[in-house]
C-alpha cells in the first residue's frame, strides 16, 4: 500500500506546478492547461482520501469537478478562439495576471 501522505505530497507538488504555470506564462491556452493541472491535483487528493476513509463522497466530488471542467473548457476555448479572430494573437501581455 502507498500511504495517503505520499499522494498528498504529490498533489501539493502538482498543484504548485500548475500555479507556477498560471503565474508566469504569457499564452492563454498554456495558462488554462496549468489550471487543469491544478484541478487534477485537487481531484487526486479527493480520490486518495476517499480511498483512505472508504467514502464514496470523495469520488462523487471528483465527478462534479470533471463536469465543471468540461463546461469551463467549452467557454474558455470559445473565448480564446474569439479573441484570436479579433486580434490575430493570444500572446496576451494583458493577461499578465499579476498586473492590474
Amino acid at each position: 500500500m502507498v500511504p495517503v501522505e505520499y499522494y498528498l505530497g504529490l498533489s501539493i507538488v502538482l498543484f504548485s506546478l500548475g500555479a507556477l504555470g498560471v503565474l508566469i506564462r504569457r499564452n492563454a491556452i498554456i495558462i488554462f492547461m496549468s489550471v487543469e493541472l491544478m484541478l487534477n491535483s485537487a481531484n487526486l487528493t479527493f480520490v486518495a482520501f476517499a480511498n483512505q476513509y472508504q467514502l464514496i463522497s470523495g469520488q462523487i466530488f471528483v465527478f462534479f469537478v470533471m463536469a465543471v471542467a468540461a463546461a469551463e473548457v467549452a467557454v474558455g476555448l470559445a473565448l480564446i478562439v474569439a479573441i484570436f479572430q479579433t486580434k490575430q494573437s493570444i500572446d496576451v501581455d494583458q493577461i499578465n495576471l499579476l498586473k492590474g
Binding site: V35, F46, F61, G76
Partner: protein, 483 residues
C-alpha cells in the same frame, strides 16, 4: 427519503427552482421573439425574477434543512435571496436600453443573467462544499460570457478572457481547499466539519491549509487585496450593465460563501485566521482607496471603490470567532452588502446614462456641468457618492457605522481607526466627482431612458429614506443569524 420528502425539499428551494425553470423556458421562448422586440425577453426575465421574489417575500421566516443537509434555508439565505433577485431585476432595467444603444441586443443575455442569479441564490442556501462549488461555477461561467458579450469588441473580449482565466484559477484554488478540508475531516458538509472538529478527529494542520486556500480562492472572487489585480481591467472592459451586476451580485455571492463557511464551520480556526483577516481587510481598504485617487476613468474609479468596499465588508468578519459577536458580524456584513448594492446601482445607472458608444463618456471630464443639463442625474450621483463616502443620513453611513460597531465589540479598535481614516481618504475622490458635476463647465451628453431614470432615482431615494428609517432593515438583518 420518500417522494413527499422530495417534494418538501423542492418546496423549500422553490424560488431557486422557479428561476432555473424560467431560464430554461425563456431560452426556448426567445427563439420566437424577433430581433426588434428583445425588450419582451427582458420583460419576461424580470417577471420571472419578480415571481421568485414574491415567493421569497411571502415566506421570509421559512427555515429548513433539506437535501441531506446540503441546503439550508434560513434568515441568512432569505435576506441574500431577496438581495440577489432585487439586483437581478435592477440589472435588467439597466441593461435593456444600454444594450440597444450599444448594438448588443441578444436574447441569450437575459437567459445567462437568470442562470447567474440562480447560481447566486444557490450560494445563499449552500451548506455543503459541493453545493458551494457548483454555485460558484453556476454564477461565474455565465458572467464570463456576459463580460464578453460585446464581441468582437476587443476590450470586452479581453476583459472576459482575463476574468475567465483568473476565475478558473481561483476555482482551482477553491477546489484544492475543499479537497484538503475533506482530507482533514472526511466530509464536505459544513455541519459534518463542525462535528469532526468537536470530536477531535479532524487533522487540524490540513484543515487550516484548506481554510486558507478557500479564503484565497474566494478572495479572488470578491477582489480582496492582494487578489484584486483583475478587477480594474475587467470592470473597465466589460459592458457597463454587466459590470454593475458583477460588482454587486458576484461580490455579494462571494461574501455569502465566505460568511457561511467561516462562521458556520470554522469558528475553531479563528486563532489562526483572525490575524490573516485583519491584514487582508486593512490592505484592501488602504490600497483600494489610495489607488482610486489616481483614476480619471469613472469605471476604473468605481472598480477601485468596489475593492475598498470589499475591505469594509471583510471588517465585519474579523471578530467572527467570538461567539457573542458572531451574530452582529453577520448582521452588519449583510446590512453593509445591502447598502453597498443600493449605492452601487445608483452610481452605475448614472454611468450607464452617460456612456456613449465606443467607450466614450466615461472620463471625469465628461461629468463636468452635469448639474446644469441633467439636474436629476447629478443629484442621484451626488447621493451615491455621499453614501459611498459614508455621510449621514445615507444608507452607506449606517453600513459603516454598524461594521465599525461590530469591530469595537470584538476588540479591534486599531482596525476601526484604519477604516475611518481610509473613509476620509475616499471622500477626496468621491467628492471630486460631485465637484466636477456642479462646479465645472461642460457639455455632458446623457440619454433619457425612462427605465434607467426610474431605477436611478428610486435607488437614490431608497438610499436616503432607508438611511433615515433603517431600524426595521437592521432588525431584519439581525434575524439572519447562522446557527
Amino acid at each position: 427519503m420518500n417522494l413527499s420528502n422530495a417534494s418538501a425539499s423542492l418546496n423549500a428551494i422553490l424560488p431557486l427552482v422557479v428561476v432555473i425553470l424560467w431560464a430554461c423556458a425563456l431560452l426556448l421562448v426567445d427563439l420566437f421573439i424577433t430581433k426588434e422586440r428583445k425588450g419582451l425577453t427582458a420583460l419576461l426575465a424580470a417577471i420571472g425574477m419578480l415571481a421568485s421574489l414574491i415567493i421569497t417575500l411571502a415566506r421570509l421566516d421559512l427555515e429548513a434543512v433539506v437535501f441531506n443537509g446540503m441546503v439550508t434555508v434560513d434568515g441568512f439565505s432569505n435576506f441574500l435571496t431577496v438581495l440577489f433577485l432585487g439586483s437581478g431585476i435592477v440589472a435588467v432595467a439597466l441593461s435593456y436600453d444600454y444594450l440597444k444603444r450599444m448594438g448588443l441586443e441578444k436574447g441569450e443575455y437575459y437567459v445567462l443573467l437568470l442562470f447567474t442569479v440562480s447560481g447566486m441564490m444557490l450560494m445563499a442556501v449552500a451548506s455543503d462544499l459541493i453545493v458551494v462549488f457548483l454555485a460558484l461555477e453556476l454564477l461565474s461561467i455565465p458572467l464570463y460570457v456576459l463580460a464578453g458579450i460585446a464581441t468582437p469588441r476587443l476590450d470586452s473580449e479581453e476583459s472576459s478572457l482575463k476574468y475567465f482565466l483568473l476565475g478558473s484559477f481561483s476555482t482551482g484554488i477553491v477546489v484544492y481547499g475543499i479537497a484538503l478540508v475533506f482530507g482533514a475531516t472526511g466530509t464536505t458538509s459544513l455541519a459534518g466539519i463542525v462535528d469532526a472538529i468537536t470530536a477531535g478527529s479532524a487533522g487540524m494542520g490540513l484543515l487550516v491549509a484548506g481554510a486558507a486556500m478557500l479564503l484565497i480562492g474566494l478572495g479572488f472572487k470578491v477582489a480582496l487585496v492582494p487578489f484584486h489585480m483583475w478587477t480594474p481591467d475587467v470592470y473597465q472592459g466589460a459592458p457597463s450593465s454587466v459590470t454593475a451586476f458583477m460588482a454587486i451580485g458576484a461580490k455579494a455571492a462571494g461574501f455569502a460563501a465566505i460568511l457561511r463557511i467561516f462562521i458556520q464551520a470554522f469558528p475553531a480556526l479563528s486563532v489562526d485566521l483572525t490575524p490573516v483577516l485583519w491584514v487582508l481587510a486593512a490592505l484592501t481598504m488602504i490600497l483600494g482607496n489610495v489607488v482610486a485617487i489616481a483614476q480619471r476613468n469613472i469605471k476604473r474609479l468605481l472598480a477601485y471603490s468596489s475593492i475598498a468596499n470589499a475591505g469594509y465588508i471583510l471588517l465585519a468578519l474579523v471578530p467572527y470567532g467570538q461567539s457573542d459577536v458572531a451574530a452582529d458580524s453577520v448582521a452588519s456584513a449583510l446590512f453593509y452588502l445591502l447598502a453597498y448594492a443600493f449605492t452601487s446601482f445608483t452610481a452605475w445607472s448614472v454611468v450607464i446614462a452617460l456612456e456613449q458608444v465606443e467607450g466614450k463618456g466615461l472620463e471625469l471630464e465628461d461629468y463636468a456641468g452635469l448639474s446644469r443639463r441633467y439636474p436629476i442625474l447629478a443629484l442621484t450621483m451626488t447621493v451615491a457618492m455621499l453614501s459611498f463616502t459614508g455621510v449621514p443620513p445615507t444608507l452607506g453611513f449606517l453600513g459603516k457605522f454598524y461594521v465599525f460597531r461590530t469591530l469595537l465589540e470584538g476588540g479591534f479598535p486599531g482596525l476601526a481607526v484604519i477604516g475611518v481614516v481610509t473613509s476620509l481618504i475616499s471622500a477626496y475622490y468621491y467628492l471630486r466627482v460631485v465637484v466636477y458635476m456642479y462646479m465645472r463647465e461642460g457639455e455632458p451628453q446623457a440619454i433619457r431612458d425612462p427605465w434607467l431614470y426610474i431605477a436611478a432615482t428610486a435607488s437614490a431615494i431608497c438610499l436616503v429614506v432607508l438611511g433615515i428609517f433603517s431600524q426595521p432593515l437592521f432588525a431584519w438583518a439581525s434575524q439572519a443569524m447562522l446557527h
